[in-house]
Structures are given as C-alpha cells and as structure tokens.
Symmetry: C2
Subunit: 104 residues, 2 copies
Amino acid sequence: MTKNIFSDIPKLLSEEQFDTLLRSKSIKIERIISKGHASPKIGWYKQQQNEWVVVLKGSAIITIKDAEQITLEEGDYYHLPAYIEHKVSWTKPNIETIWLAVHY
Amino acid sequence: MTKNIFSDIPKLLSEEQFDTLLRSKSIKIERIISKGHASPKIGWYKQQQNEWVVVLKGSAIITIKDAEQITLEEGDYYHLPAYIEHKVSWTKPNIETIWLAVHY
C-alpha cells in the first residue's frame, strides 16, 4: 500500500512534528512538519549523522552557527554535514512547511 | 548555495533523465524525470540496493514482477527492497513526472 507524504497533516501543531517514514541500519527518512516553529527552542542542533533536506511545501530559514542563513523555498534542498551546528530559525507562520529529511 | 529539485527540467526528454543529487558510501539520492517513459525498455530492474521513492510531481505506475501494480500520485511514496524485479510501466505522457529516489 502506498502512503502519501502530504496526507495526515494534523490541524493543530503545537510542536514541530517528526514522522519516521523509513528506518534502516544506515539511514532514516523523516517527514518534518513545521508551522511557524523554530527549532531547537534553545541552542543548536549538532547531529552525529549527515542530513540531506528538501522543503516540499512552505518555506524555512536554516541558520548555520557563526555562518550563513539559508532560505529554503518549495523544492530547495540542502546538505548539513554531521556535527555542523545549525537551527531552523524560521518557518512560514500561516501554512505548514513540509520537509523531507534523509539522515545517513 | 541551495539547489531546487523542480528547476532545470529539460524541455526535450527523449529518454528518462537521472540526476544524482547526493552520493556517499552508503546512499545515493537521485532525481528522476519521466515524461511518458516506461523503463527499463526491455526486461526488469533488479537492483542490489534498496530503493525508497516518492513522486513529487506527475504520476506513475510501478509493476512488480508476478505481483501487483502500484499507482503513485503526487506525494505517494513506496519502498522497493533490493533484488525485487520491477519496472516503471507507465508515467503521465503530457507532463513531467519528478521522482526523488533514495538508494541505500
């Protein structure tokens, strides 16, 4: 049975939502839904794995610590190497931003 | 610099087009553009790696050998385990079907 990445969007999103679509020994594919959220709330993400992200709907800004801000519109993709300190500093407030993230 | 998965779509697509967006030791992320193509032209795909696919635009039918046909519309995703014999038996003829595929 197929599933759809744009389905089952919750009406209320008090927090960002993370749904694991696939998990194997080597990778995790995740859907992330943001709606005006920035994350993490305090500090920075610093992950042990590389992460490739694409924004499928909405828009977002990723901030790299002590470096640039990257604006992502629909279809834009970006690579975050392991251990790079970063945060999602802004997502569109009025509509859902839907991300696909591949951790590897 | 960000790149966009919906950009740089060739006007003429005499063959299906495969663009590698990311390649590492463990995974390959690929954009596939089809426009009425079925593939492979003869026989079946039988890959050593697992493949996770999502249709981002357009629509397609995947046929699993001696088994089912799976219709994929925009946003639908599907998992093809390694060595499963399959083919893309149909894609929408009048517009581009854009796939994102993660091989792992």
